[in-house]
């Protein structure tokens, strides 16, 4: 379970999150939509501990990730580090380690963090890379892979840590159009075939509609509206949602 309670974040006088309350149930697949600059990435980055909230409580699977009192400072605690291990993230720009092969990218954390022995980690990495359709590229470095292939390695790498929560930040927006499908296909399989909690920021509205249990419309650091995809896309209640959808769907 993921829960945000009164989470605020600003840069200067840019108030990106305003006392945000937000929850995701275990196993739920949630898509976050909303205009540029509305704070979608910031939410994911706070969950991945890449950003610190100015204030508020963030809990994942009962573990406290952040607990910042008004006027206090976010601290890296033991509990935060232990809790973070439940969370994996797939970045817009892949962020693979360029000097390592696909296999090494996927094996690095299981060996060093989960302390699996090399053989077991290797076997699991081979399986994961097979699952994302890259059995022929185990020993290729990222520079030799297409964007779509790189993003699939990145997904396998994140999965290798066996996260219970997976975050996707616009996983296909850096890809050439013809490569988007192969990555969405892998994510679709994770959504239907696993009980991981998934939180995804995307501009692929049709895909969001198809895979998510719930869609959350975000604007100016607050939740504008949330509900089942059919409702949000077919009969949104708020004018801001309608306006946003008109803009992106026309495009």
């Amino acid at each position: 379970m993921i829960s945000f309670r009164g989470v605020s974040k600003s840069w200067g006088d840019n108030h990106v999150l305003r006392s945000l309350d937000f929850e995701v149930a275990p196993g739920e697949k949630v898509c976050i939509i909303g205009p540029s600059g509305s704070g979608k990435t910031t939410i994911l980055r706070i969950l991945m501990t890449l950003e610190t909230p100015d204030e508020g409580l963030v809990v994942v699977n009962g573990g406290t990730l952040w607990d910042v009192k008004k006027g206090g400072h976010a601290k890296e605690t033991k509990e935060m580090k232990a809790t973070r291990r439940n969370v994996g993230m797939v970045f817009q720009s892949f962020n693979l380690f360029p000097h390592m092969t696909a296999l090494e990218n996927v094996m690095e954390a299981p060996v060093k963090v989960l302390k699996l022995d090399k053989q077991e980690a290797h076997q699991r990495a081979v399986e994961l890379l097979g699952m994302v359709g890259l059995s022929d590229h185990l020993n290729h470095k990222p520079g030799r892979l297409s964007g779509g292939q790189q993003q699939r390695v990145a997904i396998a790498r994140a999965m290798a840590m066996r996260p219970t929560v997976m975050l996707f930040d616009e996983p296909t927006s850096a890809l050439d159009p013809e490569l988007i499908g192969e990555v969405l296909e892998v994510i679709r399989e994770l959504a239907t075939g696993t009980d991981m909690t998934m939180l995804m920021v995307t501009h692929e509205m049709r895909f969001a509609e198809e895979i998510s249990d719930r869609v959350v419309m975000f604007d100016k650091g607050v939740v504008v509206e949330k509900g089942p995809p059919a409702q949000i896309f077919k009969s949104p209640e708020h004018e801001r949602t309608r306006k946003f959808l008109r803009a992106v769907l026309d495009y």
Binding site: M48, R84, M89, N95, F97, E108, K112
Partner: protein
């Protein structure tokens, strides 16, 4: 020292037989210079790396102190640092041979430069690499050792190679604290025989030959690193 006898050395003509007789001693001096350079560079590479990592780690006070260290070392001449170490270290009960003192001074001096080189290399590593490491919960030592440094070192290896060559030439300064390297031999031969033309010329030739060969090597290395990217 060199200056006084050098003044009396004007108007000399080249004496080939004398020059030839100097070569074995001069080669010995060159060998010492090379050893000093390699040892000094080893210190510079290690200390510079530690300094760069500490500065980047943003530990309050300590990181600033090391920033000051870099500025201080870069802001004073190598010759003065050498004199200071030579004169002052024994006062603090550290009696080291001129050779060892020279190596340490050279290494410390260059560590300030290598620290800056490493820093530039580390800054070149995209922030996404650090973030991916955090997302995988990689420990910080592992992130440095396996993710950041391999990428940073790759881009700065040729620059470090050029610093090695520069250090090789700069080590000549150490004859001032009586280190018996290549210039030290020139000085001794000069004050013994009152002839400078031959030893200085031979020393210059030796410095030049080694520098040229080494720069070719660095260039080759640079090309290989670019190609294997």
């Amino acid at each position: 020292m060199m200056g006084s006898t050098l003044a009396a050395a004007g108007g000399q003509t080249w004496d080939s037989a004398f020059a030839k007789s100097l070569i074995p001693t001069m080669l010995e001096g060159l060998w010492t210079t090379i050893q000093i350079t390699l040892a000094g560079m080893a210190i510079a590479l290690v200390v510079g790396l530690v300094v760069a990592i500490i500065r980047r780690s943003k530990i309050p006070v300590i990181s600033q102190l090391f920033g000051f260290y870099v500025q201080f070392v870069r802001g004073t001449p190598l010759l003065i640092q050498a004199y200071f170490a030579y004169i002052l270290l024994p006062d603090y009960g550290l009696t080291l041979s001129p050779l060892v003192t020279g190596i340490i001074v050279l290494g410390i001096n260059y560590s300030a430069y290598t620290a800056e080189v490493y820093r530039a290399g580390v800054e070149d590593v995209p922030v996404g690499q650090w973030e991916a490491a955090t997302a995988l919960s990689l420990p910080i030592q592992r992130t440095w050792g396996r993710i950041v440094l391999p990428q940073a070192l790759r881009s700065v290896t040729p620059v470090l190679g050029n610093y090695l060559i520069q250090m090789f030439k700069d080590s000549a300064v150490l004859f001032a604290i009586s280190v018996y390297e290549l210039m030290g031999h020139v000085d001794t031969i000069g004050s013994d025989t009152y002839r400078y033309l031959e030893p200085v010329t031979i020393a210059a030739a030796l410095y030049l030959i080694v520098s040229l060969i080494s720069s070719q090597f660095v260039r080759l290395l640079e090309r290989r690193l670019v190609l294997s990217r």
